[in-house]
Amino acid sequence: MSNLMSGAQMLLECLAREGVDCIFGYPGGVTLPFYDVLYEHPIRHVLVRHEENAAFAAEGYARATGKVGVCCATSGPGATNLTTGLVDAMMDSIPIVAITGQVPTKLIGSDAFQEADTFGITRSCTKHNYLVKRLEDLPQAVHEAFYVAASGRPGPVLVDITKDVLQGQGHYQPVTSVHLPGYKVFTEGHTGQIRRAAQMVEEAERPLVYAGGGIIAAGAAAELNELIECTDAPAVITLMGLGAMPSQHPNFISMPGMHGSFAANQALSNCDLLIALGVRFDDRVTGRLAAFAPHAKVVHVDIDPAEIGKNRAPDVPIVGDVKRVLAKINKLLVEEKAPASEKRSAARRAWWQQIRAWKAEHPFPAPVSDTEIKPQHLMAEIDRLSGGNAIVSSDVGQHQMWAAQLIRFNEPRLWLSSGGLGSMGFGLPAAIGAQFARPDKLVFALVGDGGFQMSIPELGTIASNGLPIKIVVMNNGYLGMVRQWQTLFYNNRLSAVELDCFPDAAKLAGAYGFKGRTIDKPWDLAPALEEAVNEPGPYLLNVKVTPFESVYPMVPAGAAINEMVLGPPQPVPVPAT
């Protein structure tokens, strides 16, 4: 059997062997050899309309499945356009591999046409990156990239390949192993620390689980739920972790942090043991760090040693795969369950009573109006149609926070959202990736009118592939979250936040050959959403909501998380004269 093949064929062979079934990309001069062999290959290539969206779509694919998403771009502008998506994947620990073309080796450094220092530019945007200048290095680099992207704390890896490598001819040998002697992945967790953690969980009077995206990445939802069943501890789930436990679970006390629930933030501020699982004590969760969970001892489980102690020094640090560590903790808790003392049982009962009171005292505000569509009303209707089962790919801003507060998720990988980087323009292309990955699923691209206008070109990708994505634009005519801050902290001087022009949704969708509609009456909301969901193809629903609604509760920047603002500032009564 002849195994003489071109670099481009070798690349494709490697991708096929990694189980890649779908690539989101955009061709160009130096990737021509690759696209030439892709032409008759069963791997599906999805032509996006901008490279940034190729990276976001690859993320959507990865977030919806846990598999490595793949995107591809040409040299120079193609590669630089990928960078936002790469950083986004870096911040949220999403496994993607980006393939970029590079100018021929002999032209590197000559300011050649479409040359950019992709290797240098993406150093800080990736978990690791490669510049392949020799054909014999190519298969190794590609397989290493997939291994690094998916193992340990997942993340983006970029492989930059020169045109002469893609064109070169060589003998292909399957790569049987990758050897990265300095790449340390700790999975098991320290036995002694695990024992201590289990003991502390057992003894705590006011325990609280604080779980995040690490649970999703590790596929540890079952172990998390077992811990919760076994201890009856309440749990707060971060924006990145939503779906790690069913939103209806009685122990779920919602999202913590800046726009988290009153109960979640109070619980954090009053717990005596914080069981932190696959979280990184992000500033949007902790508020003022010094005042975060001030009474709590902390057990922190994370696969990345650098996250342990980065923001909060834990009492029990455990570096490991949260799935394996939790399984061990659960086993100890079940095996060595001692009857709780009367004092502890009473304390736990009082803790639950307190949490229920907090939950009842200030649930998330969900106003409904007879005359206009409240944004929260929109989220409630999407929630009703989803029933916790649809994929919701959100953009960034107010709608993202309302969605996270009010839409339920029964399982992991349904809620796709740009958490760490907060990239506007993420929601719609990520929905494309998710719909390709999960053709069986109802997918909502839930976006604001700002982010949507960053993504309009991708309506072409949706239309040409007939993707039945339901694009719901929460349209308040403003960059709402920025406006909210201007209102609260900049004397309501609304600088550069008004989006006073928005295309006619029916015409815009019609121009791409699918249905669209604009609504602004609350009585139209449910029927319009149902129409969208029942439409076999794509649907663009532009929902004009109350323009001046703000997201509450809100923890002002720099405040402790129990210093929440629960609603809009009340007008100061004018003293009678």
């Binding site: 800080s124 510049l131 049987t176 002697p181 300095g182 102690g309």
Partner: protein, 179 residues
């Protein structure tokens, strides 16, 4: 405070950029950095001195260890270690002070590497603080020019190097690709 880090890393293109990029990205200031190949030409040894708050020292090491090309990052700040630096000083001296300059150089264990009617070029090796003193002394004799190497450090106790074994790929097990 100053932290002394010894790094053992793979001698691969871009490895230096990864280290310096990481330091600036995380907001740590590099005081000095030296790098050269080890006995094994595939590896490099780097000594980095960074200015960082004491509480952040462990975080710096952890971040370094996350770099895939880094085999080992060791904080030598408080470990038994020898730290040395070399300085080359060119000092202009008038005829009357030449002997005194030579005497001073001798006190610091220096070596004259060039001598001319203008003055001397002197090489001194020692602990970085010692070199500061030497430079101060030389300055008192006249105009000087100074080049320092940056610190080099070696731990006095060997630290076990733990390397990861090769990992089999799924790709290698397949006789034929999936398609």
């Amino acid at each position: 405070m100053l932290q002394i880090i010894s790094l053992l890393l793979e001698n691969k293109p871009g490895a230096l950029m990864r280290v310096t990029g990481l330091l600036s990205q995380r907001g740590y200031n590099i005081e000095s950095l030296t790098v050269a190949r080890t006995l094994d030409p595939a590896l490099s040894r780097m000594t980095i001195v960074v200015d960082v708050e004491a509480v952040k020292r462990q975080q710096v090491i952890k971040q370094m260890n996350k770099l895939i090309n880094v085999l080992q990052a060791t904080d030598l700040t408080e470990l038994p270690a020898v730290v040395r630096e070399m300085v080359l000083v060119r000092v202009r001296t008038v005829q009357e002070t030449r002997t005194a300059v030579l005497k001073e150089a001798e006190i610091f264990g220096g070596r004259v590497v060039d001598s001319s009617t203008e003055g001397f070029a002197i090489e001194v090796t020692g602990a970085p603080e010692k070199l500061n003193e030497f430079i101060d002394v030389m300055r008192s004799y006249g105009e000087i020019e100074v080049t320092r190497s940056g610190a080099l450090a070696i731990a006095l106790e060997a630290k076990k190097l733990r390397l990861q074994p090769p990992v089999p790929t799924r790709a290698g097990k397949l006789e034929e690709p999936v398609y």
